[in-house]
């Protein structure tokens, strides 16, 4: 197996549109969650979102923009940023050995939503000719492949909230195994349409509005947590063999050293301790590490009652007494749940946090929960921590658990 370096990071997120900006916001506990101001707000019970400050018109020519759902705009912007930051000359890359791996839970759902509004809301037959091409889940990956002329595997993973962790893990496997020499891997999500917000609301998973501070409405691991807040954005990583990255003097951001994947095979929404323990165990085994080698963890930490309890139990099961000494950060309190992009964004935040020796905070942790009694780094970042090796966990509706092992 070859070592795999991360040499470029690209981010569009509620915390800023670069890895550095997003990290700075997360470190300072600055929330990207806010009340939604939209024509349909009055029809939502808890009108909260974590939106990205991103206007596609600033980045794409009108003829192209008309073919790009917001999810593809995010993916392209983040991928371009990753390529640029990696300072890689794509002319030197064997295009057939360069792949694109994108996770997305809902694909171009805003375009589908728009089409349905025209058909059912306006009772018009003028659905846009681009609707299929904008809505298809593989559009973000396809556009990245076209933009950078990458002719190897162009794959889209849709395992709900673990989609982008799976995408990064699968890309890692191919580069580590020698099948590919470069990959753009990550995820993108643009779920803030009326239709999708209502559907999530109907599932009773969304947070209620914190009346005192709406930006503090998502409260992972706090006893008064009430659910998640949907967020939008993308995060892409440029991955390449370590030796080649070092040889060309690339700006190495860190290393992917392991990936574990398991399936709960139990309940469509309810997480399972057993499934999470299996994914973490597989990730450690892939990295050739004992649990004692893990310095910190980025939690899945959605802020739903079920997730946080089960996830804490899984960590105790894997790490035993040491579980209480491992910084365990839930950054979704700040950037919301980016669904298919969440794992990639959290992977990026974890890599940058390690570079800075910082344990990112779990914000809005106001009320201790006896079932969630680990070190969540509550309410303030911790500086000057020695963190070389981290886990980044992503668990999903459907049961697909994915865990990445990261090193700097």
């Amino acid at each position: 197996m070859r070592r795999v370096a991360v040499t470029g990071l690209g981010v569009v997120s509620p915390l800023g549109n670069s890895a550095a900006e997003a990290f700075a916001s997360a470190r300072n506990g600055r929330s990207g969650i806010h009340r939604l101001d939209a024509p349909f707000t009055s029809r939502l019970v808890g009108p909260l979102v974590a939106s990205a400050r991103f206007d596609g018109a600033e980045h794409f020519a009108p003829p192209k923009l008309r073919m790009l759902d917001r999810v593809s705009q995010f993916a392209l912007y983040a991928a371009n940023q990753a390529v640029s930051e990696a300072r890689i000359d794509l002319g030197q890359v064997d295009r057939r050995r360069a792949g694109v791996f994108v996770g997305t839970g809902m694909g171009g759902s805003m375009s589908s939503d728009d089409g349905y509004r025209i058909l059912y809301g306006d009772r018009s037959d003028r659905i846009k000719p681009f609707t299929v091409l904008m809505g298809m889940h593989n559009a973000p990956a396809a556009w990245i492949g076209i933009e950078h002329d990458l002719r190897g595997p162009n794959l889209t993973f849709s395992t709900a909230c673990s989609s982008s962790a799976v995408a990064i893990g699968e890309a890692w496997l191919r580069i580590a195994g020698g099948a590919l020499d470069m990959a753009l891997a990550g995820g993108a999500e643009a779920p803030l349409s009326f239709g999708s917000l209502k559907a999530w609301e109907a599932l009773h998973t969304l947070a209620t509005v914190d009346a005192d501070d709406p930006s503090a409405s998502c409260k992972p691991f706090s006893r008064n947590r009430s659910g998640m807040v949907l967020g939008e954005g993308a995060a892409m990583l440029l991955l390449e063999p370590w030796e080649e990255a070092v040889a060309r003097g690339a700006p190495v951001q860190g290393e992917i050293i392991g990936y574990g994947l398991s399936n709960d095979a139990s309940h469509i929404t309810r997480p399972s301790v057993e499934g999470q323990v299996a994914a973490i165990g597989d990730a450690l085994a892939a990295a050739g590490l004992e649990p004692g080698a893990i310095d910190a963890i980025n939690a899945h930490g959605t802020g739903t009652p079920a997730n946080d309890r089960v996830e804490s139990a899984a960590i105790k099961s894997v790490f035993g007494e040491r579980a209480y000494d491992i910084p365990f950060s839930a950054t979704k309190a700040l950037h919301g749940h980016l669904l298919g992009a969440a794992g990639a964004l959290e992977c990026v935040l974890s890599l940058v946090a390690m570079q800075h020796g910082v344990a990112l905070p779990t914000m809005h942790l106001q009320v201790p929960d006896p079932e969630c009694d680990l070190d969540y780094v509550p309410n303030a970042a911790r500086d000057a921590v020695v963190v070389r090796t981290m886990l980044s966990s992503s668990f999903a509706f459907g049961g697909a658990n994915a865990v990445l092992v990261l090193r700097t």
Binding site: A61, P62, P63, K64, R66, M67, K128, P129, F130, L133
Partner: protein
């Protein structure tokens, strides 16, 4: 009264943010970034602007002039008393 070309230009400038000067009758649509799906989308706006109904038959339109002639044909058939036309007006286009 504005010509067909003037009115088509307004639609294209609004949707594609194109420079009006580029929208001459001989300009190829593909070169302006308007492919066949873009033309299909444009038809909805043409129906509204010119109060015509686009027939279902496939039609190949390669240039801005083709679109103008196509519109003029529809208007002539569907509104014979008010048709103005615009193919020949390219030399006397008022500024947008």
């Amino acid at each position: 009264m504005n010509t067909t070309l003037d009115r088509l230009r307004v639609l294209l400038v609004k949707d594609y943010k194109l420079e009006p000067d580029l929208l001459t009758t001989d300009a190829p649509l593909e070169a302006l970034g308007i492919d066949s799906l873009g033309v299909a989308e444009l038809m909805f706006n043409i129906e509204d602007e010119f109060e015509v109904s686009i027939p279902g038959d496939p039609v190949t339109l390669a240039t801005v002039g083709d679109v103008v002639r196509y519109i003029d044909g529809l208007v002539a058939t569907q509104h014979p008393d008010t048709a103005v036309g615009g193919v020949t007006s390219d030399l006397a286009v008022p500024a947008l």
